[in-house]
Amino acid sequence: MTQEQSVGIVVPQTAHFSTPLPLKSGGTLAEYDLVYETYGTLNAARSNAVLVCHALSGSHHVAGRYADGTLGWWDNLVGPGKPLDTERFFVIGVNNLGGCYGSSGPNSINPATGKPWGADFPFVTVEDWVDAQARLADQLGIERFAAVVGGSLGGMQALSWTLQYPDRVAHALVIASAPKLTAQNIAFNEVARQAILKDPEFHGGHYYEHGVVPTRGLALARMVGHITYLSDDAMGQKFGRTLRHEKPVFSYDVEFEIESYLRYQGDKFAGFFDANTYLLTTKALDYYDPAFDYDGDLVAALGRAKADYLVVSFSTDWRFAPSRSREIVYALMHSDRRVSYAEIDCPAGHDSFLLDDAQYHAVLRAYIDNIKL
């Protein structure tokens, strides 16, 4: 077995598409760009491609590092000798439509007006993302993926792939995900959106033209998100009730360490992420419900699927709780799909899926090693 290594320095590429893409929200995108990265080599049979789908704030930069040192968000999983081994697989990361890392989105130029799209960028859904990813696969000459992999919102894309393109995906790895959001989950997203929408510098989504950024709203949105990505225990262990001044000073400035952490994470995020992308992406999460057209019957919705599945959840994840993953597992089983399910005992809450917990990575490695090319 190859020693675990990094894929090294990577450079993103851009694919342009001029065939209009019909969207679930009713409109079309006349033309669009998708920015993506690839790691490893596509084999002669073109049978070793794996698509990695990103979550709310992720990007196409899955593995390796940029010249400035920025590490891919799933670098611990993807690389030579790693569980998703780039010596064996050709791995693709793509920034989704509506994103803010180079793919067409609210902060890119609307070709029709020559100005940033802003709030005029159409609503995009998980299904639209998958359609766009399929066109990228066409362009790269990939008829069928050996696997589509994703965590959280990325897991929804992996699941959706097997329903939209059942003949084009052999395995789906659906990690820390859910078949649809709960009311509580939508509620957290709505608080995040309201924080952005009510920021005076939001300007109806056309803040680019005003030369401002609704950073306060975006930072608040991220703070709410961060609370839900960590478990109570993990937060307690990391921050507890530690006071910066050792005793209460009766102020609204940072006193507890958790306040410092949340403000830092919020401000950092608001410094690089796009508020319109945050709004669009949380709506894509809220709308995702493959059983909606089947009277809520997930087994019926999965009837089209032909893939094999690995579903993974984490014991302390309350944002996408294990019970939600089990819904997917039981529906797949009752649809006679091959499915395995691992519930990883990991203290880090929803964020566990980004960590390299030994059992988690061992299960992924074992499953991926058994994928036949």
């Binding site: 690995l310 089990r326 819904e327 597992v329 039981y330 089983m333 009752h334 006679d336 091959r338 499915v339 395995s340 399910y341 691992a342 519930e343 990883i344 005992d345 059992q359 061992a362 299960v363 074992a366 499953y367 090693d369 058994n370």
Partner: protein, 200 residues
């Protein structure tokens, strides 16, 4: 665990090709693998031990990691042709509950367990010690087993719970025991059904 365990043959003979099988406490998935090769079953295993879940993943067996003590909520009634529990019933706390669940989600249940009343076990007790044998390989202080019962006890429970015994095979090692199984057999295997269902 040997691949050619004699109880695998018995279980395999009770199963029709292509059936839907659920194996509770499936270990490393070797029984399911055997049944997949011999009977082309569509099989799923249930296991809660992380190491064993990993072993199943390595063996290419469908494994679902849940705690059986919580029952089989989420599994549809009658979805499986056979629900198997091989040498694990004695390690379950909620014996009645799991038997009921097995016969809810499966048309038939297949259960095997070590017979506590096996003569060597009785001899050990008479000599003043808890039995340790091939089928009860643990010391009293480290055993995962929590229920200690005999063939006679199990059949009383089946009668009490309205569980139909469709077939029983008792063994001493790999020899079939017909006479006095509660005394002479170390392991018993049962094919069980819901009462009122026709013996197959």
């Amino acid at each position: 665990m040997s691949f050619q365990r004699y109880d695998y043959d018995v279980i395999s003979n009770w199963i029709e090709p292509g059936e839907r099988i659920l194996d509770l406490g499936c270990g490393d998935g070797s029984l399911l693998r055997y049944l997949k090769e011999r009977r082309q079953v569509r099989g799923y295993g249930v296991e809660n031990d992380p190491e064993r879940v990993l072993a199943c993943a390595r063996n290419g067996i469908n494994v679902i990691q849940i705690d059986l003590e919580q029952g089989l909520a989420g599994f549809d009634d009658g979805f499986f042709d056979h629900v198997i529990m091989s040498l694990s019933l004695q390690a379950m706390r909620n014996t009645q509950g799991i038997l009921k669940e097995m016969l809810r989600v499966g048309h038939e249940a297949v259960v095997s367990f070590p017979n506590f009343a096996y003569w060597r076990h009785r001899q050990a007790i008479l000599n003043g010690h808890m039995p340790v044998s091939k089928n009860l390989p643990y010391q009293w202080y480290d055993t995962p087993n929590v229920r200690f019962f005999t063939i006679a006890d199990f059949e009383t429970l089946c009668e009490q719970e309205g569980i139909a015994i469709h077939e029983r095979l008792a063994f001493d090692e790999d020899k079939v025991i017909v006479e006095e199984p509660n005394f002479l057999a170390s392991v018993a295997l049962y094919r069980l059904g819901r009462n009122g269902s026709v013996a197959g």
